[in-house]
Each structure stands twice: as C-alpha cells, then as structure tokens.
C-alpha cells in the first residue's frame, strides 16, 4: 500500500514532467536524415567491407562506356548535331509542326527524358488567357507528336510564365516549335529553347532567342543553342484574369468586413486605477499613469473567445507554423483625441480572462503580428498582383513567455483578532496553559477574552497581560546572547487574509480586495487596523474585485493583438492533409478548425490545393472554406479526421454573413 502511494506520486511527477517536454518523436528521423547528408559513403564502406573487386569492375565498365560515347560523338557527328544546325532546310520544311531533335541534349539530360512531363514556357508576344492547350508537331523521324496540356500562371515568378503539365508524353528535345490552340480556337505559336530549370521537378523552361521569337517555325534560328541569346519576355498583363482575381478578393474582403467584430470603447482617467469589463467577460486592470500623455484616454477592445468570432475574423492560432491552442484573443488600443498612444514602459495592464477552468493554467501570453497585406485589400486595383497575397493567414503569434496565474487580487477580511497565538504555552497535568497579550485598543474585555479562550480554545488556564500597542520582546537580554521573539497582541480588530481567518475560525465583519498580496515577516503577518501598512485600493467596487479573485490573469506591456495560448503537444504521428478545391485555391479562404481544442490554422496554397502540414493523425477537424463563384459568396463545411489524404469533396453553397456566422458558431462547444 505504502509502496503504491509512493509509486503513484512518482508517476504523477514523471507525467507532469513529460507534459512539459518538447516533442522529440522525430529525433530519430532527423538523425537518419542528418546521417545520410553527412557521410553516406563512409557508412556504406563501413557496412560493406569487401568491395574492392566490385569497384574495379564498375570502374572498367564506366571507362568503357565513356570511350564508346566519345567515339560516337566525335567520329559520327551527323547523327549528333542538332537538326537546326545540320539540316535546317528539312527542319524548316516541315516546320509548321516540327519539333527538331537534338540528341546531344537528349543524352546529356537523360534524367529529364525519363521523367519529365512538364514544360515551363515563356511565350513571346502571344497572350495566353486560356488554360487548355493542344500542342501538335512532328519529330525528325516524321512521327506525330501531340501534347495536350493545362497551362497556368506561375505563382512564384509573378510573371505571365506558363507551366504546361503534359499528360504522360515525354518531352525529349531542346528546340521547340509548336503550335497551340487555345480553348476559344485562337492559334498560338511558340518558338524557343527548352532548358532544365530545376533539379528536382524536371521542368523545362523555354527561353526565347531574342526578337526572332515571333518567327514562324520556318524561320527557326540557326546555330547552336548556346549561341542564342536567352531572353525572357514577360507577357502583357492578362487583364481579364487579373480583374477576376481582384474582384474575387475584394468580394471576399467585403464579406469578411461585414463579419468584423464590433469594438467596445471606454473613456478612462489616466490618473487613477481602473477596471474595464468587456461584454464577454474580459476584465482589464489598468493602473494609474499606465499611458503616455493625456488624462482622458479612450480604450478600445475587441474580444475573441469563441469560434464564432475567431473564424469570422480569420484569426489563425499558429506561431511560426506551430499549432497553438487558444484560450482567447484580445485586441486593445488606446487613443487620446483620436491619436494612438503607447503604454508607459514601466507600467503594465493586467488581463483577466473569463475562463476560470484549470485549462488556462498552462497558457502563456502571445503577441500578434498582423499580415498587413491580407487585411488591406481596399486599395487593390486591376493591375495589382494578387497571387502573392495569402488571404487566409492574417496573424502570426509570438511567444511572450508569461504564464497566466491566479490570485492576483487577494481577499482580506476584517475580524476580531482572537487567534490562538499565545506568546508562551505550557503543558501541565491539568491541561494547557497559555499566556497572551491584550491589545490596548481591544474590542473585547479581559474577562470575555479569558472566557473565550477557556471555552473555545480548550485552555485549562490563561494568563492575559495588557499590551503596549506594539510588538513585544521576550527572552533573555545581555550576557552575550539576545533572543527577540515577536508576538502579536490580540483582542483588537484587524485585517487579515481570508485563509488565515478561516484557519483560526474567526468571523469576518468586513471584506476588501487588494491587488497586492499580504507579505511580511511570516505567513501570519496581519495588517493592523489602526496603522494600515499598505493602502488598500478602495476605489473599486468590492463585488467586482471579488469576481476577479479566482480569475487567471497575466501582465501585458504592449497594446495590439494579444492571445492566451499554449503550444499543441500531441504525440501522435504527424500527417499532411490536402484539400483540393479544383480551382485556384488562392481565391478562397480556407481554414482547418480543430474540434476538441480551440485551434485554427490556414494551410499553404499551391495551385488548386491547400496543404495543412504536420497535423496530428486522427484528430477530428472541420474544414471551413469561403470563396466567390459567379459573383456569389459560397461556403463549405466539411468534417473529417486528419490523415494523409486529399479531400476534394467540399460542397459549396451560397451563404450570407449571418449564415456563415451561424455555421462558425456551431463549432463552439455548448
């Protein structure tokens, strides 16, 4: 039994420690990666000790291959030189649809040949405003080549470069002549040189040979590819597409503007302590002279404690891509005559969150940094490049490393001080004998006190001396040693902490709340009723401050966005959830909302897809997405569990701001 109790205590201690540790589950995985980067060859050699003969054979084979290839290149040039160099006429003859062959490049980029099926094209002057392309051509052997691909504007380059993703067709050549038809039937012609631009993606970029890019295929420039002057020509702005994108973003912005949380304003005096109460339970204790300049200060606050407010105001809970669990967010600003002011550096405001559960105990303060671009879409015009604007991500949280604590305010009570604290106590065969000092301002007579101590405190005999109104010194003086023992006089009324009064069963006649804890010589230090050691903050309503006694609070030193958060610690494996919206995801505002904890994240957008990375597997979430289709605002709400899957079955339906707010509110726990 004893052992079990001890084990239980040890186990609890270990659990508490483990909860506070960072997630090291990926340490082994990282080590494997690091090992491979650092010394793959050495490790291989160590593991396979006897490879010398094999290495010799490999070396001979490689050398033989090299000599054979060299022979092929230098003794039979006719097979190797680009068709544009050797047989321009022939190439140009079939030119309208011909893709010239350059085997040298083909060999040199064999990896591209094997895997590539994408082209990154920089067109010349032809503007491409449709997505589907059909590319037809003939290679040198006369074989028909046909590519059907989908083009899109590259989000990274910001230019009107097209990336063609070609289904299952291999692109093996360096020179390209191809003719395309856009969906509206318009003929488009491209000429250029393909170049591998990425080691990873096997994408080809067409670089154009200067002014001659407008050539018909028959005018294909001569000479080696390397002689051609590489030039990238950006397309003139595609006004139609951009206008649509801007319109969508503006419509979304207008939609969310209607849902913006209303602010609450308070005019306070900067010369005295103030407590502000928000509609949703926020309490702010603002000490005197907290702000710079101005006597009358207007405080404006916005409270975000529910999913209804967090989702509709797009407040994600991420700190540098690490998920946070929120206990509520707040925006505070202070103005004097319409001009924003800062706090005094030495002062601080105390934020009391409405949640009184123990969940707040692990929370810390985070300050928000706003992504201005995502908020300020009012000035967008048709020429604006909206591709870089991540509309979903509005705020990033930075740890302020201050924990939320209870008991900032202390409740003290006025009692008749009848504590059982004699200055001398002696045990005799008849019972306990106690000696007390009676205060000169006692509210109780010596006889009554004696009766009280004999009956209620079970003394067999009490000795009561009259005090002098202060502390008393007892013990021996002189002869090398001095003993000073201090004792409190009893019988007078006094303020003391409510816990101390309860311990001594003393009845409270008055209650007051102070912002400073009772500190002193020892736990039993009591404020003297006649000479208060510390001035109480009597300016506030006692009832209001009593409400704050059990609230969690934190000190804030900067205004703006603040958040009560903790990092989401989850030992489950991490997965990547992908949401496929089937059209440009950048025009949508999509969030992942966690159901068990208050946490919301925005993913990274790539094409039509949104990636939510490193999320705990199996967690129940709701995907909320808002977009604009045909000028109407639509929304989708999809429940799922996190896994490495692609979610593409989002059902969008028309919505209004109030409808969307209701949907968001349905995620709040009752």
């Amino acid at each position: 039994m004893e052992q079990n109790n001890n084990n239980n205590t040890d186990k609890k201690l270990r659990q508490l420690e483990n909860q506070s540790l960072p997630d090291l589950s990926k340490m082994d995985e990282h080590w494997e990666q690091m090992k491979n980067i650092l010394q793959p060859e050495d490790l291989l050699v160590n593991k396979t000790p006897n490879h010398k003969p094999l290495r010799w054979i490999t070396a001979v084979v490689v050398a033989g291959t090299f000599f054979f290839l060299s022979y092929e290149f230098f003794t039979k040039p006719g097979k190797l030189i680009s068709s544009t160099e050797k047989q321009p006429g022939q190439t140009l003859k079939n030119s309208a649809d011909t893709i010239p062959i350059n085997r040298r490049i083909k060999r040199g980029t064999s990896s591209i040949q094997d895997r590539k099926d994408s082209l990154l094209l920089t067109p010349t002057e032809e503007q491409i405003n449709k997505q589907e392309f059909i590319l037809t051509g003939k290679d040198k052997d006369g074989k028909e080549v046909k590519f059907v691909g989908v083009a899109k504007v590259s989000p990274k380059t910001g230019r009107d470069t097209l990336i063609l993703t070609l289904p299952k067709e291999q692109v093996t050549e360096q020179h390209f002549f191809f003719k395309g038809k856009s969906a509206d039937g318009k003929e488009v012609t491209f000429t250029g040189i393909a170049k591998k631009i990425s080691r990873v993606k096997d994408t080809l970029q067409i670089k154009l040979p200067g002014k001659e890019t407008q050539n018909t295929p028959g005018n294909m420039p001569k000479g080696k590819p390397s002689d051609l002057k590489e030039k990238e020509i950006a397309l003139p702005a595609d006004t139609t597409t951009k206008k649509q994108a801007v319109d969508k973003k503006k419509a979304l912005f207008d939609f969310f503007a209607q849902l913006e949380k209303e602010s609450q304003s308070f005019v306070i005096s900067n010369r005295r302590d103030t407590v502000i109460w928000g509609n949703e339970g926020t309490a702010l204790f603002i000490p005197a002279n907290a702000f710079r300049g101005g006597e009358s200060v207007t405080i404006t606050i916005k409270e975000y404690y529910s999913y209804r407010d967090i989702i509709t105001n797009r407040l994600t809970t991420c700190a540098d891509n690490q998920l946070l669990v929120s206990g509520g967010m707040l925006h505070i600003s202070a103005t004097v005559n319409g001009r924003e002011i800062d706090m005094e550096p030495a002062n601080s405001i105390r934020w009391f969150v409405p949640d009184t559960t123990d969940a707040i105990r692990q929370m810390q303060l985070f300050n928000g940094i706003v992504n201005e671009a995502s908020l300020d879409l009012k000035n967008l015009n048709q020429d604006a490049d909206t591709s870089e604007i991540d509309f979903s991500s509005t705020i990033n949280w930075v740890l302020d490393a201050r924990y939320f604590r209870r008991n900032h305010f202390h409740t003290n009570v006025r009692v008749l001080d009848l504590r059982d604290e004699p200055y001398k106590r002696r045990s005799t065969k008849n019972g306990m004998v106690g000696k007390f000092y009676l205060s000169p301002d006692a509210k109780i007579s010596k006889e009554d006190l004696e009766n009280y101590l004999l009956t209620k405190r079970n003394y067999s005999r009490v000795v009561i001396k009259k005090g002098t109104g202060g502390w008393h010194r007892t013990g021996f003086l002189g002869l090398g040693k001095r003993y000073h023992r201090l004792h409190q006089e009893i019988g007078d009324s006094a303020w003391m902490e409510i816990s101390l009064a309860r311990r001594h069963n003393l009845k409270a006649t008055d209650t007051i709340v102070t912002k400073n804890p009772v500190k002193g010589w020892y736990d039993f230090y009591v404020y003297d009723g006649r000479k208060p050691v510390q001035k109480f903050d009597t300016a506030f309503s006692k009832n209001n401050l009593n409400k704050l006694a059990n609230r969690y609070s934190v000190e804030i030193r900067t205004l703006g966005w603040i958040n009560c958060d903790r990092f989401l610690k989850d030992s489950r494996p991490k997965v990547d959830l992908i949401v496929d919206l089937k059209e440009s995801a950048n025009d949508y505002c999509t969030f992942l909302v966690f159901e068990k904890v208050k946490s919301m994240m925005s993913g990274s957008v790539s094409g039509n897809k949104i990636y939510f990375r490193n999320v705990p597997e199996g967690e129940a979430v709701t995907i909320m997405s808002v977009g604009v289709i045909d000028g109407k605002t639509v929304t989708a709400k999809h429940r799922t569990r996190l896994s490495n899957t692609v979610v593409s079955e989002l059902k969008f339906e028309e919505t209004t701001p109030s409808d969307f707010k209701e949907k968001a509110a349905s995620l709040d726990k009752p």
Binding site: N6, L13, L16
Partner: protein
C-alpha cells in the same frame, strides 16, 4: 536535455557546462552509436552520465543516518493539476543538495537504488533515505496547495 542538466547543476551556467561536455561526448562517440533503441535515450544516458560526473566532482555525498523503513507519503492528485512541472523543479532545487540529486535520479531518470548507490558511491540505504526525505519535503512544500 538542457533541462536534465539544470536539475543537477546549481545554476544555468553549470547546466551549460554539463550540456557542453555531454554534447562533446555525443559527437565524439556518435560513430559508436549502435542504432539499438532510440537516439534520444542514448543521448540522454550520456547527458545523465555527465551530470553524475559533475556531481561527483563537486564532492562526495555523505552517508545518511540509518532510519526506519520508508513511510507512506502520498500527495493528493489534485495538487498536480494546480502546479506546473517548472514549479515542482524549483521546489526540488531548494531541497538539500544530496537529496535533490538522489530524488531526481530515482524519480525522473528511473534509476534503481542499487544503480544510484554505485554511481554516487553511497549505500542503498542512504539512497532510499534521500528519496523518502525528498518525498516528505516535497509534500510539506505542497501542503498549502492541498489545503487550498
């Protein structure tokens, strides 16, 4: 790992020295890592060994008075919901030094009394006494939370 070092060092500087030595030892011996078990556990073992070296370098732990068998010391579960790991560590740090070291080794590192006795050059009885004393003092310090 720096938190493990902090448990055994008096201050952050001491923890830094231990951590530095431990990491030096880790990188010097990484080629000997056998890929059995987790890397974290391997590194942690080295860190704890460095901590013990540091403790030994500071001086020998005295034998404790022989006392009766361990008494029952239980702390209410509710207390652990009201206090954070960091606060517990602060309390443990304020315990007598030898008690804190033995208590940490027993509770957090999972060492047996036999192992602790070997590592610190004390008897098993002394190790048991320190762990029990640690529990008792911790309970005393957490009493106010039990009452609240």
């Amino acid at each position: 790992m720096i938190r493990v070092c902090q448990r055994y060092a008096g201050d952050l500087d001491g923890a830094g020295i231990i951590y530095n030595n431990a990491m030096f030892r880790v990188f010097r011996n990484i080629k000997n890592y056998q890929h059995h078990g987790k890397l974290e556990a391997w590194v942690r073992t080295i860190v704890i060994n460095c901590c013990l070296d540091h403790v030994k370098a500071k001086g020998k732990i005295k034998e404790a008075p022989v006392t009766a068998a361990t008494e029952e010391i239980s702390i209410d579960d509710y207390v652990f919901e009201k206090i954070s790991a960091k606060e517990i560590q602060l309390i443990i740090k304020k315990l007598p030094k030898a008690t804190a070291i033995v208590f940490n080794l027993f509770v957090y590192e999972g060492c047996t009394h036999n192992q602790i006795a070997d590592a610190l050059g004390i008897s098993e009885g002394t190790s048991k006494w320190h762990v029990n004393e640690g529990r008792r003092l911790l309970k005393t310090k957490l009493e106010h939370l039990e009452k609240a």
